[in-house]
């Protein structure tokens, strides 16, 4: 009793805390796996209403005002469906909805996952058919008479989906996350021509390098190595041009574009066959920035290639 100046009490409390902490750690160890599994199951249950998740690879993208669940095909990892889980301000609290959109932008379905609207009229938004069938078109939206604010919240969610659905399917989904590993290839002139047959000279220009392949002091081929800014990083391309201005081949040697559509510039046929003619150029829809970069490279070549073969390089 005399010795109890608080220190021992503190020690008792501390040891009690330790025991409790150990107990909690033990229980946590027991339950943590199951909690994770249950949480995931709960999330999937809502999506399962629209798609059979087992058939897809599921990916989750967290945005400011919601989450996008990306369902990719298991065979070629193309985006098959997007399930948007967005929130908007309703009459009471936020209204949270799940909107499932197919690749052809048709709406598979939508469901209200959370709402706290005024009972009676406001709660009519649950299970109501808002006549929203095409993801990029909210003009057909039917609101509920008498529940303007609640249906405006629903409309806000649909509008948000409609604004991004198209671009999401075309690769805009990953706009905010650059891929980790750049696409880099070791390319040399040998990939186009047999370098033993030619004298190779290297000329530095403003935008890159030109390899001049000469045979008997005549310029036979030019290999342009040009780099230009892409979406996230530089894009570097090798373009081999023959003497008759026909394009032998082109290879993207370095790029760091968006996963999905942006990376399509690699191995893509841009329909560029005559060096000074860009009119046939095919851009990649959905990856405008990336293909614009490629186009820019080609236009640099198109501008100077005739002059280069005519001897402009020697100047």
């Amino acid at each position: 009793m005399k010795n109890n100046n608080g220190l021992i009490s503190g020690l008792v409390l501390l040891s009690l805390g330790l025991i409790c902490g150990l107990l909690l750690a033990f229980v946590n160890e027991l339950t943590v796996e199951r909690i994770e599994a249950e949480e995931l199951r709960l999330k999937f249950d809502a999506i399962e209403e629209f798609y059979d998740i087992a058939n897809y690879d599921l990916e989750e993208i967290v945005l400011e005002n919601g989450t996008i669940y990306v369902l990719k095909s298991q065979s070629n990892s193309e985006i098959e469906h997007l399930v948007y889980s967005f929130r908007a301000k309703g009459y009471g609290e936020d209204v949270e909805m799940l909107v499932a959109v197919n690749k052809d932008l048709s709406v598979e379905g939508y469901t209200v996952t959370y709402q706290n609207e005024s009972p009676g009229i406001g709660t009519k938004i649950v299970g109501n058919d808002f006549n929203y069938n095409q993801a990029d078109d909210v003009s057909t939206f039917d609101s509920i008479g008498g529940a303007t604010v609640s249906s405006n919240a629903v409309k806000a969610i649909f509008t948000e989906v409609s604004e991004r659905a198209q671009s999401d399917f075309n690769g805009g989904l990953y706009d905010d996350e650059p891929i980790d590993e750049p696409n880099e290839l070791e390319i040399t002139v040998d990939d186009f021509y047999d370098s033993d047959l030619f004298d190779i000279e290297e000329v530095e220009i403003e935008q890159g390098t030109i390899y001049i392949l000469r045979q008997d002091n005549q310029i036979e081929h030019l290999v342009y190595v040009i780099s230009t800014p892409g979406y996230h990083d530089q894009i570097e391309m090798f373009v081999a041009v023959n003497k008759d201005l026909s394009v032998e081949d082109y290879i993207v040697s370095y790029s760091n574009e968006n996963e999905g559509y942006g990376t399509k510039i690699v191995d893509r046929d841009f329909n560029y066959s005559v060096a000074n003619d860009l009119s046939t150029f095919d851009s990649i829809s959905g990856a405008t920035v990336s293909s614009d970069a490629v186009r820019h490279i080609f236009s640099i070549i198109a501008e100077r290639t005739e002059d280069d073969f005519g001897g402009g390089l020697d100047d």
């Binding site: 006549n131 057909t140 039917d142």
Partner: protein, 386 residues
């Protein structure tokens, strides 16, 4: 009594009163609510009955239903209109006179509901009534309001057994007009399924259409058309008169009656040729070919083409008369219209060229220009294709 009320009776009476109000008052208010629906339905049916003149009663029936898709106006998607209600209309002696289909179609937006009344006796579309629609833009129904009386008049007493079963759309409200047009066509399909009515269905394509420049036959027919018809792509070259009525077949497969009936409609809808010039007649003895051209009004400018004796060139063109208005109210202030026309003809005769249009008489100038073009084509034909 007072004794009773002073004991437990009072609460019983009061509670009973409450219960009575609850039960009977509730019945009363439910009756009121139902009555709204009943009144609504009555008004709806009355408005439907107004579509048919001699209609007295409506009788609901289950229509056969047809699955047919149409283009959604303004896009490539196909959709099938939905039949909401179907009624038989009885007259005062309880004989069925008409049938009404209430069909939902898509205009600018979905939910274009209209009633289409079809007379059973003479297979006619009697009238159309729009029940509800979503053709709105913000507060006012801008698009829908463009559909004027003239547009709706197209639907009254419209025969179902015509080849071209469609109405002219209204500019500025094309999609809304198309909603009614499609609904009307779908109503015809429904009618054909419910009643023994056959929709005329002609497969016909006009491949080419030309004036007949052959002086020997020019009096018999004005146009030569090359057509493809029927499901197995039969072809024929047919001759048509000035109103595109069928005259005869010069070569190819035999033309069916359905195609013959359909030809005028199909040709007039197919603008292959600039159809301004009408051949009035050819006199073999005087070698005079008279034609008329559409100026301000139809076939208003008349002229005679004199063919030379060898029948291989145009000798002279004479301006005969014109119905053009000479009041110059359209701002024409140059030389008189006949002078304008004569100028063209003189120019053609002397130089074989077509003059520039005369300012202020643009329409007439254009007509003359086309007449001259026609004459040049005639000359080439007479020359044997040179």
């Amino acid at each position: 009594m007072k004794e009773f009320l002073n004991k437990k009776g009072l609460i019983i009476v009061l509670s009973t009163l409450l219960l009575i109000v609850f039960v009977f008052g509730g019945m009363y208010s439910r009756y009121m609510t139902n009555q709204i629906d009943v009144n609504e339905q009555n008004r709806y049916e009355t408005s439907l009955l107004e579509l048919v003149n001699d209609g007295v009663t409506l009788e609901y029936f289950d229509a056969e239903g047809v699955d047919k898709s149409y283009h959604t106006p303004g896009s490539e998607d196909e959709y099938s209109p939905s039949l909401l209600d179907s009624y038989k209309v009885m007259d005062d002696s309880n004989v069925e006179t008409a049938v009404i289909y209430v069909i939902e179609t898509i205009g600018i937006s979905a939910g274009f509901v209209a009633a289409y009344a079809i007379s059973v006796d003479d297979d006619q579309l009697l009238a159309v009534k729009v029940i509800s629609h979503n053709e709105t833009d913000n507060q006012d129904n801008r698009y829908f309001n463009r559909l004027n009386d003239a547009f709706f008049n197209q639907f009254t007493n419209k025969d179902l057994d015509v080849i071209d079963f469609s109405v002219d759309t209204i500019a500025g409200a094309t999609l809304s007009s198309l909603a009614l047009d499609i609904g009307m066509k779908y109503a015809r399909e429904l009618y054909a399924a419910d009643y023994a009515f056959e929709i005329i269905n002609v497969i016909l394509e006009i491949n080419s259409l030309n004036y007949n420049y052959d002086l020997d036959t020019i009096n018999e027919f004005s146009f030569i058309a090359e057509i493809t018809f029927d499901e197995d792509d039969k072809t024929a070259i047919v001759h048509l008169d000035t109103d595109f009525n069928y005259i005869d077949t010069s070569s190819g497969d035999e033309v069916t009656q359905g195609v013959i009936d359909a030809l005028p409609v199909f040709v007039s809808k197919t603008h292959i040729l600039c159809l301004d010039v009408t051949i009035e007649g050819y006199d073999e003895t005087t070698r005079e070919l008279s034609i008329s051209v559409n100026g301000y009004s139809l076939a208003s400018v008349k002229m005679i083409i004199l063919i030379n004796s060898a029948l291989d060139a145009v000798e002279n063109v004479t301006f005969i008369s014109s119905d053009e208005s000479y009041d110059y109210s359209h701002g024409y202030s140059g030389s008189g219209v006949p002078e304008v026309e004569q100028g063209y003809i003189d120019g053609f005769n002397s130089q074989g060229v077509i003059l520039d249009e005369t300012a202020g008489a643009t329409v007439t100038s254009h007509a003359m220009g086309r007449a001259i073009e026609w004459i040049k084509s005639l000359e080439i034909a007479l020359n044997g294709g040179n």
